[in-house]
Structures are given as structure tokens and as C-alpha cells.
């Protein structure tokens, strides 16, 4: 529980952070809320030689209404996402999920950009972002680019971010009045990572389902979409949810660990997808 010695730099702007990343190379690591990185360092599972602290970049904490979508500064803390009226009105699933991450102290320190950059497939936000088909904005030495969430998560703890890139903003669509949503997290204790999580964003049309987007947490090396379920639900009646949900684990590759076997995770994904879609339809 005692980390290896490291140097510490404070970034005073995004450009400065990019410059510091260039200067210190691949042994350096950005730190925002620190609630993913510091535990790994204390266990000596991560040993960056330099930490570059983004946490004082107050101008990266905001939520703005951009018409069709909300833009959220990457350093916005989970608790602020959870409590934000714009988020609550236009993208309830994001605010609700922010209130499920870890415990209150994690929510008060951890940031939206940080949890996405961490790329943990057991994280709740990545699968919610995939179900929302949101976008990330990253800045690097060559300027800014936008990355669809569906293309951002590459592998276990590995994302599309280049070595000198910093996430600056997260964009999520505003959900209309015919859109129901649910995030169902199955965990052993309330503060744990998800054993399985299901994010459902469902477009309703006069008592049937016009389309559904289902994101899965902890069912593979990255957040996944339950595309077989989505296909089966397209144009389906609400009485077809249970059957559609039975294919929730198709195309997934869940692991086995102390919390759950691969088989149990597949089972949970099916049950939880059914319950999530049912809840979304009622919301």
C-alpha cells in the first residue's frame, strides 16, 4: 500500500498538460480525481515516474446545452454530473449512473473524463456512453479531434487516446420524451464495480419499441453493445422483451473471477437486459 516514488507536475492549461506529456514521455501519467490511478499505485500495480495533475483546470468543469446535445467538461466530477439540472432533464441515464459510481467520496473526487480515459470494462460510464452513442473530444499536439464512444474503447484498460492526448469534453445526445432509459448495475456490494451492468436507451413508439441501444458492462474487454437484442427489439412489441433479452450475451466474452463465472455473467446479462428494457419502457 506504499507507492513507488514519483515526481509531480501541475498542469496550468490543457496545452501545458500536452507539453508535459511530451516532455516526460510514456512513463508519465495524467491524474484527475485519482480514484482509479492512486489505488493501483498503492498496490504497485502502476508505477508512473511522473504524475501530471489536471485537477486545477477549473475551466474543464461545465455542462452546456448545445442544442441537440449536452457538452460536459472532462473534469466535471461525478457528483456534479449527478446533480446537474441539464443532465437530469436531458440525459437522465448519465446523471443516474454518475450517482452509482463507487461511494460518495469517489463521486466527489472522480471525473467523467477520468473514468472514460481509464478504459475499465467494469466501469459503468463507458457502457452508458456506448448506449448513448456519445462523443469524446480530445486535444493533442496536432489539435483537437472528436472520437465516437463506440470507437474509443479498444481493449482492457486501453483506449484510442494517443500518448500526448487529453480528453477535454464529453458530448451526449439530449434524449427526447419518447426515449426511455435504464442503467441496471449488478454488484455484490453497492460500492463495488459492476459484476454486470446493462445500459438501455429505448425509443418508444405508441406502445411498441422503434429502436433500442443496449450497452453492456463487464461482459468483455471493452464495453459492448448487445446487438442481437437491439435487432430483435427493433419494431418489437413490449411483450417480446423477455425473448429478445435472451440473446443479450451473444457475441460477448465475459471473464471469470471471484465475483462471477463467465456462465453466471451471461445469465445475469440476460436477466438484467430484460429488467433494464422493461424499466426503460416504464420511464
Amino acid at each position: 500500500m506504499i507507492p513507488v516514488a514519483f515526481d509531480y507536475e501541475v498542469a496550468d492549461s490543457v496545452d501545458h498538460a500536452i507539453e508535459l506529456l511530451g516532455q516526460h514521455g510514456e512513463e508519465s501519467k495524467l491524474i484527475a480525481g485519482g480514484h482509479s490511478l492512486i489505488p493501483l499505485m498503492r498496490l504497485r500495480l502502476a508505477a508512473p515516474t511522473v504524475l501530471i495533475d489536471l485537477d486545477r483546470l477549473e475551466d474543464l468543469r461545465y455542462v452546456r446545452d448545445e442544442g441537440d446535445y449536452l457538452s460536459i467538461g472532462a473534469l466535471t466530477r461525478h457528483r456534479d454530473v449527478h446533480n446537474n439540472p441539464l443532465v437530469q432533464e436531458h440525459c437522465g441515464i448519465l446523471g443516474y449512473t454518475a450517482g452509482l459510481l463507487g461511494d460518495p467520496s469517489v463521486q466527489h473526487r472522480g471525473t467523467l473524463g477520468g473514468t472514460l480515459a481509464h478504459g475499465d470494462p467494469a466501469g459503468d460510464m463507458p457502457s452508458v456512453m456506448c448506449a448513448l452513442e456519445g462523443t469524446l473530444v480530445a486535444q493533442g499536439p496536432d489539435g483537437e479531434r472528436t472520437i465516437p464512444a463506440l470507437e474509443f474503447f479498444k481493449d482492457y484498460f486501453f483506449t484510442d487516446l494517443a500518448e500526448q492526448e487529453v480528453i477535454t469534453e464529453v458530448r451526449v445526445p439530449k434524449l427526447g420524451s419518447n426515449t426511455g432509459w435504464s442503467y441496471k448495475k449488478f454488484s455484490r456490494r453497492s460500492q463495488d464495480w459492476a459484476v454486470v451492468g446493462v445500459a438501455a436507451v429505448v425509443e418508444k413508439d405508441n406502445g411498441s419499441i422503434s429502436s433500442a441501444r443496449i450497452g453492456l458492462t463487464s461482459m468483455g474487454n471493452t464495453p459492448l453493445r448487445a446487438s442481437a437484442v437491439e435487432e430483435a427489439l427493433s419494431g418489437a412489441g413490449t411483450d417480446q422483451v423477455a425473448e429478445a433479452a435472451n440473446s443479450a450475451d451473444e457475441g460477448t466474452s465475459p471473464g471469470t473471477d471471484d465475483a462471477a463465472s463467465s456462465e453466471f455473467r451471461r445469465h445475469l446479462a440476460r436477466v438484467w437486459t430484460r429488467r433494464a428494457v422493461e424499466e426503460a419502457l416504464g420511464r
Partner: protein, 841 residues
């Protein structure tokens, strides 16, 4: 002068301890900083069983800030009688280099003199901290504080580095060269007893530590006559105690004399003083042990550990104060674990469900070696398997088994939760077998209420009990009939959320212990408790107790007890403890003993001092002692209401000693050592209401009703707090916690991410009530309550889950009932039902 009310005992006096604790002003061991203090860190074995074939600390010595590094061989001369006693100067040299004013740089390091380690006096002798020899032929393997030649569990200390700060010590560990030759570990208590199993200690030739038996009545006859025989196997998983403050020790020479002081986060400063004195070869009068504020123990600090001894011998060897603070990873690997039993039970009963006899066969996991009380824990439990039921024949056998795992020892309840769980699960099995309700099965076997010592099937005497009253009350509190109706509705509707109602009617053995019982059981330590009282010249009071509170609230409760006897307010009483110089006599805090033994000593010593005060008051008022009455802090003379004197005036007179009765010693100071005539036996009836998600296996406790009886309550706030915490820990065992090791003996639940300690969201609101059945064993009638919740809860939870799932054919789920296990159990039951032709009922 304010008139003190008659009684504080029984009132909800706010805890005196809390303001400092909740405002960050507690004095933890890690807060102690002494001049020139050095820090140590341990290199620990990554193997559960291996020979050390090469070990070289020299590269670590070259690292910044490193002062010294030692192997087990280097320290061999430090242990036991004949340890190096020569006064040594500092064994290292420090100089401030580089002009850095705050940073002490080590300019020269030097391996300490090794001359005396040539004659390793302990080489062929035993070394162990174990104080409980349960059988004459018990095997007690030598276990050196730092390994010599072989490691026996993952986390065994291999080398120790001393540096100017904790970080530097930790970093230097990576420079120690060590080669291991891995050996096959024994990692399972049942397989360790099989023919040809790998041996934890090859020199012993067996993994069996001891076999301990107890038998009463004619067990064969009971089974011959039985209409019903119930057989079950239960598993008590290993638990990891999680005190918020991990272990921590600072050892130093005492300025002014040639002895040592050891500040250590312990439950047992007095026992630690004796054990450390022997282990390190320091005369007892030269060791002072201080337990500063201690952030929880739960039994894990009812021990004397290698690390404490190492701090002490390094303080002696290097001449500098030595600090060690355990980190959480070490805590999980190396602080003792609790539980760890495989239990086989057989119950014989008649067709009405009346128990005729009980047979218990235990395998108890000792771990790699014996800590202070390791072998005694299941032996303590042996007396409690009969529970709250009276029957004719009992046959108990326990085998202690070595494994290449972390040593086990006391953990909240220590032997009794294991017993209470087993018998209460058996009662549900019996009810099922006979076809009666769990309530009825219990009622048919309860003792009739009694208030005088009564013989039990385990050959001891319970002090007092009224199970009928607690059970009636908890049924009423839970609105039991409505619960059964709701359960039926959910069953009829095939609701995926099924309701479970689980019982636990339990007792336990607390108030350790009559000293002659300790002696008879082979426990090398007395069971009395000491107290002293000083009424100061101002009339304020100092109470010195031999108990060593670490969260229990003795400062508050003892103040209430003393205040009532002496006639002052609790705030006028200071309770002193936890330092063997301040409280030289004591047997410390564990086993729910403190109130029923130490609290009684406080009560009795206060009565003793008041006898003297009364004589002085009589002398002052020129009245006969027989005519003196005492009430509300005031002595008065019967029949002359105008004549009175206060305890404060008497205290002043006693101190000034100008006019005392002929021949009387000045002062109001008394001592008392109280050895209890019997244990105390709190009891209770609990109902746990669970909702079980049959699709996912997730269990939620909807309600928990607990009616407990610990006799008269000194402080209801403290008792309720103990019950809440105890219930939480019991629920934790039932639903969440369990140490798991892989086949190599590596702990896989090695952090709080993987080891499932429940938080507040996982726990229900507890609904508590009490009945009051005084103990005849002591003048206050009190019984222990510190472990009650932990002992009562696990079986109520598991019985509840099994009750919810009974229609599916589920009768047993091993702890912890985490979702995957519950789900798998349901799948297995369904599979069995399908195999029987689809009849699930």
C-alpha cells in the same frame, strides 16, 4: 454542590471517548514519533511453502536511508533466555549530509555485530507465542519471527529492513536477493488430513496438531433409540478481521532506566508484557507496554506477534526507537484470520423432535503455526454446540490441522459463532425432518427458565436463562404471522423475489474466565481482573482498570459504575488503563469479559473504598458506623437528619489525615482482584427477514429483529452499539466475507476490493429489544454483550435464505451466500428436481 442522582447505571450516558475519536484527536500508535526513530518494513514470502536457498540483503543496505537489514539467521541470537543482553550503543551511524536540514542522510551503514549470533542459543529449542496447550501431546511447531530456512505461508517474514523512513524501507525491500525452492503447500483443511498430504512441518510427520474430545451421557444409546437422525456438514469459512487501525508498534529504550517501552496497538498490554519479556529475554520488570488509543481489534489484537517482538529486539540491538506500521496488504496476509472449520454434526431425536443426543466432529484450521490462543478457539466452542437445548448425550471431537495458510486465532466470538451456527442450522434441519415448524422445534428443546446455575450437556453450568421470553418477544416484534402470510402470497404468485424468515435462538459463553477453569483447559493465563480506586483530596475519583478498551467504552461504563457507588457524577471519575506502568495488574479485553469481570472488579473496589469512607464519616460525625447511611454522595446519621458530611469532605479528611480513626491508614485508595466464580451466558432470539432474488441469487436483508438478554444493562447506548456492530459482523460472515486462497496458497481476497466487507447500504435497520434475566454469578447480574450480535446473526441469515428457497428444494447454502453461490445452489436444486421427474416440491 450539586446533589448527585442515585443511579447512573442503566442510563444512556453519552460516551466519554467519542469527542476525541470523532474529531481526529485520538492518539494512535502511528501518531507516536520519538527522537531518532527508525522504521522497518518486511520482505514477505510470495510462496506458501518453500525452502529459502539463497538470501542476501547486502544490496538493500546500499539503498538511500537504509540503516540495517536482517535475515532470520541474523536475528537468531535475539530470542528467548540468553538473548544478547549486553548494552549496545547505536549499531549504525548517521550524519547529516548535503546541507539538507530536514533530511537525515545515512553516510555509513554497518551490519550489526554478529559475534553473539555465532552461538545461536535457540537453534534447537522451540519458539512460539502460543499460550494455550489444549492437550499434552499437542504439536507446537517452532516458528521464528523472521524465517530461518523455510517459509510456511504466503506472507511469512523473510527479512527486515530498517531505514530512516517507511517509504525508504519499503523501496529497499526490492533489492533483497532471495531464491526459493517451492514445496507443495497444504491449502485445505480436509485434504491436509488425507494420507500422503503435503506436510506443513515435515519434522512433525503429520498435519494434525491435536485431537480434543469431550463426552457426556450415553451417545450410542441416544442414536440407538432415535426415531430421527439428522446429519449435516457445515463450513465455517475463514474471515479476515478488519480493524480500521491495522497493527502498529513503536519500541524504544525507556529513558532513565535500562528497560524498554513498547507502544503497540493491542487488546492485551498486560499479556504482551509477559510474552514479550519471555520471547526477547528481557526481565519482566524491564518491559513496559502501552496500548494507546486502539482502533479496533475484534480478536486480531488478542495476540502477541512477531513484528512486535522484532521492534523490541531491534530497539535493543540498534539503540534507536523502532516503528512498524502494518499496511492493509500485510494486514490481510499476516494478521491472524478467524473461523476456518469444517463441521460434521449428527443429531439424534425422537419422533416429536426432542433431541436425544448430539455428535460433533470438527476439523479446525490452525494455519501454518500456532499464535497465542490458536488451538484453544475451537475448544472454547466445544462447550457451546448444545446451545439453548437440554438433552442427554453429547459427543464432541475436534482435530486441529496445520495448513500452509495464515495462522488463525480469535475473531469476534472465537469458537462460539461456529457452535451457535451449527446447532441453529441443525434445529432447522431437525424441524424439516420431523415436519414441525422451526419455532416449535426450538420450543420443545428449550430449558425451562432458570435463575440458578444449571447443568448442560457439555458439562458446564449456564448461569440463568429464559429463552421462552426472548422468543415470544421477537415473534411479536416481527409480527411473525403476517410475515408467514406474505411469504405464502409470494410463493403462490411465483414471485421471483421470495421471502425468507430465519431464526436463531442462541446463547454463548462470555466473561472469561474463572482462573481454575483456564488452568484446567491448559490456558497459560489467569482469568481474574484487577481494579484500583483513588478518591483524590478534592473528592474526584481515579479508577484504574486492568481491562484494555479499544472501542468498548469502558471509560464511560466504569465511570457509571464507580459514580453510583461513590456518589459522584461520571464526569468526576477518570478511568485509567492501557499502560502497564499505570495499571500494573490486568488481564485485558477479549471474550466479552470486561464488564462481567473487570466491571465487577471496579464495582467491588469502589464498595471497598466506601467501607473505609464510611468509617471516616462515622468518626467525623462522632456516630457509630452502624448508624451511617449513604445516599446521593452524602453520609448521614440515622435519626439525626441535620447531621451529614459529603464524600468530598470525607476524601479531604482521609488525605489530610489530621483526624482519622485510631490506627487507620491515610487516604482512600483500594485495590481489588476479582476472580469470577463462573462464566456468564447471554442469550437471545433473532429473526432475519430476507428477500431472495431467485433469478440472480442476490439476497437483501429486509428486516432484522433481535431480542437479546445480557442481564441488567449498564449503558443502553453502548449495548445497542455493540449489538449493531456485532450483527453487522455476523451478517458479514453470512452474506459477504470470506478469505479465499488459490491452489498455491496465495490469498486472492487480498484487498478491500476483493474481500467483501459490507457497508451501510448492505445492512438493514436493526430492530432491537431486550429482556432482562440477571446472572447469579456477579453482584451486578451483568453478562457480556460484545460478541452477542456476531454469535447470534449468521445462522439467522442462512436459515432465512434456506427458508425462502425451501420450495425449490434448497436446504443448505454455505457461507458467504454471495449471489453466484445462491444462484448456483438454485440451479443445482432445479437440476435435482428435473432429475427426479420435474417435481420441484
Amino acid at each position: 454542590m450539586t446533589q448527585a442522582p442515585e443511579r447512573y447505571v442503566g442510563g444512556g450516558v453519552p460516551r466519554k471517548e467519542d469527542p476525541a475519536l470523532v474529531t481526529g484527536r485520538a492518539n494512535w500508535t502511528d501518531n507516536i514519533k520519538l527522537p531518532g526513530m527508525l522504521h522497518i518494513a518486511f520482505l514477505r514470502s510470495p510462496f506458501a511453502h518453500a525452502k529459502i536457498t539463497n538470501l542476501d540483503v547486502s544490496a538493500a543496505l546500499e539503498q538511500p536511508g537504509v540503516v540495517a537489514a536482517f535475515t532470520g539467521e541474523d536475528l537468531a541470537s535475539e530470542w528467548g533466555e540468553g538473548a544478547q543482553e549486553a548494552e549496545q550503543g547505536p549499531g549504525y551511524t548517521l550524519s547529516t549530509g548535503g546541507g539538507q536540514s530536514n533530511d537525515v542522510e545515512v553516510s555509513e551503514t554497518e551490519q550489526p555485530e554478529d559475534a553473539s549470533s555465532e552461538e545461536t542459543s535457540q537453534d534447537d529449542e522451540a519458539f512460539s507465542f502460543c499460550a494455550w496447550v489444549v492437550t499434552e501431546d499437542m504439536k507446537n511447531p517452532t516458528h521464528w519471527p523472521v524465517a530461518r530456512g523455510e517459509v510456511n505461508y504466503t506472507g511469512d517474514a523473510v527479512a527486515v529492513v530498517v531505514a530512516t523512513d517507511r517509504y525508504k524501507a519499503q523501496d529497499a525491500l526490492e533489492y533483497i536477493e532471495v531464491d526459493y525452492e517451492p514445496m507443495t503447500p497444504a491449502v485445505d483443511v480436509e485434504r491436509a488430513m488425507e494420507e500422503g498430504a503435503p506436510l506443513v512441518h515435515e519434522d512433525l510427520g503429520t498435519n494434525e496438531c491435536f485431537t480434543w474430545t469431550l463426552a457426556t451421557g450415553d451417545i450410542d444409546d441416544a442414536f440407538d433409540k432415535a426415531d430421527v437422525v439428522v446429519r449435516e456438514r457445515y463450513v465455517q469459512q475463514r474471515l479476515i478481521p478488519n480493524a480500521i487501525e491495522p497493527r502498529a508498534t513503536v519500541a524504544a529504550r525507556e529513558p532513565g532506566h535500562g528497560g524498554f517501552v513498547v507502544y503497540t496497538s493491542t487488546q492485551i498490554p498486560h499479556i504482551a508484557k509477559s510474552v514479550l519479556s519471555t520471547a526477547c529475554g528481557i526481565p519482566e520488570q524491564k518491559v513496559r507496554v502501552v496500548a494507546p488509543d486502539v482502533g479496533g481489534g475484534f480478536g486480531s489484537k488478542l495476540n502477541v506477534y512477531s513484528e512486535e517482538a522484532i521492534c523490541l529486539v531491534l530497539a535493543r540491538r540498534l539503540g534507536a526507537p523502532i516503528k512498524w506500521v502494518e499496511d492493509r496488504s500485510e494486514n490481510y496476509q499476516t494478521t491472524t484470520h478467524g473461523r476456518g472449520q469444517v463441521q460434521h454434526l449428527e443429531m439424534a431425536a425422537d419422533s416429536e423432535g426432542r433431541i436425544l443426543g448430539l455428535r460433533v466432529r470438527l476439523l479446525a484450521d490452525m494455519g501454518a503455526h500456532l499464535q497465542l490462543l490458536t488451538p484453544g478457539i475451537p475448544v472454547l466452542g466445544a462447550f457451546m454446540f448444545p446451545g439453548v437445548y437440554t438433552f442427554g448425550a453429547y459427543d464432541f471431537e475436534c482435530k486441529g490441522v496445520f495448513t500452509n495458510l495464515t495462522p488463525t486465532d480469535a475473531y469476534r466470538g472465537a469458537g462460539r459463532p461456529e457452535a451457535a451456527y451449527a446447532i441453529e442450522r441443525m434445529m432447522d434441519a431437525l424441524a424439516r425432518e420431523v415436519g414441525i415448524s422451526p419455532v416449535e422445534a426450538r420450543r420443545r428443546n428449550f430449558y425451562e427458565p432458570f435463575d440458578e446455575p444449571t447443568d448442560t450437556p457439555a458439562g458446564i453450568q449456564y448461569d440463568s436463562m429464559n429463552m421462552q421470553a426472548t422468543l415470544d418477544r421477537v415473534l411479536e416484534l416481527a409480527d411473525y404471522d403476517s410475515l408467514r402470510e406474505e411469504q405464502q402470497r409470494r410463493r403462490d404468485a411465483n414471485d421471483p423475489m421470495q421471502l425468507g424468515i430465519g431464526f436463531s435462538t442462541w446463547t454463548e459463553i462470555s466473561g472469561l474466565a474463572p482462573s481454575q477453569v483456564n488452568a484446567a483447559l491448559g490456558l497459560g493465563g489467569a482469568g481474574w481482573e484487577a481494579a484500583s480506586v483513588r478518591i483524590l483530596p478534592s473528592g474526584k475519583v481515579e479508577v484504574v482498570t486492568g481491562t484494555s478498551p479499544h472501542g468498548q467504552g469502558h471509560e464511560t461504563s466504569w465511570s457509571q459504575i464507580a459514580a453510583d457507588v461513590i456518589g459522584v457524577a461520571p464526569d468526576e471519575v477518570e478511568v485509567l488503563h492501557g499502560d502497564t506502568d499505570v495499571s500494573p495488574l490486568g488481564r485485558d479485553t477479549y471474550g466479552s469479559r470486561s464488564l462481567a469481570v473487570g466491571g465487577i472488579a471496579v464495582h467491588l473496589v469502589c464498595e471497598r473504598v466506601m467501607d473505609k469512607a464510611k468509617k471516616i464519616a462515622a468518626h467525623m460525625m462522632e456516630a457509630s458506623e452502624e448508624d451511617i447511611e449513604f445516599s446521593g454522595g452524602k453520609f448521614s446519621v440515622a435519626g439525626s437528619p441535620d447531621q451529614s458530611t459529603t464524600i468530598q469532605q470525607v476524601a479531604g479528611a482521609a488525605f489530610m489525615a489530621g483526624s482519622l480513626p485510631e490506627g487507620m491508614e491515610p487516604g482512600l485508595n483500594e485495590n481489588y482482584v476479582y476472580d469470577p466464580p463462573n462464566f456468564t451466558f447471554p442469550f437471545g432470539a433473532h429473526i432475519c427477514v430476507t428477500e431472495v432474488d431467485t433469478e440472480t441469487g442476490k439476497v437483501r436483508i429486509r428486516d432484522y429483529f433481535a431480542v437479546d438478554d445480557c442481564g441488567p444493562v449498564i449503558n443502553p447506548i453502548i449495548v445497542d452499539g455493540q449489538l449493531h456492530g456485532g450483527l453487522a459482523q455476523g451478517i458479514a460472515q453470512a452474506l459477504y466475507e470470506g478469505a479465499r486462497f488459490d491452489e498455491d496458497g496465495t490469498l486472492t481476497t487480498s484487498s478491500m476490493v476483493d474481500y467483501m466487507i459490507p457497508g451501510a447500504p448492505e445492512l438493514p435497520n436493526f430492530t432491537l429489544d431486550r429482556t432482562v434475566t440477571p446472572s447469579p454469578s456477579n453482584p451486578l447480574g451483568v453478562k457480556g454483550v460484545g460478541e452477542a450480535g456476531t454469535i447470534g446473526a449468521p445462522q439467522a441469515v442462512i436459515n432465512s435464505i434456506c427458508d425462502a428457497l425451501a420450495p425449490m428444494g434448497v436446504h443448505n447454502i454455505d457461507m458467504p451466500a454471495l449471489p453466484m453461490r445462491v444462484w448456483q445452489t438454485i440451479q443445482d436444486a432445479k437440476g435435482d428436481a428435473d432429475a427426479r421427474g420435474g417435481v420441484a416440491q
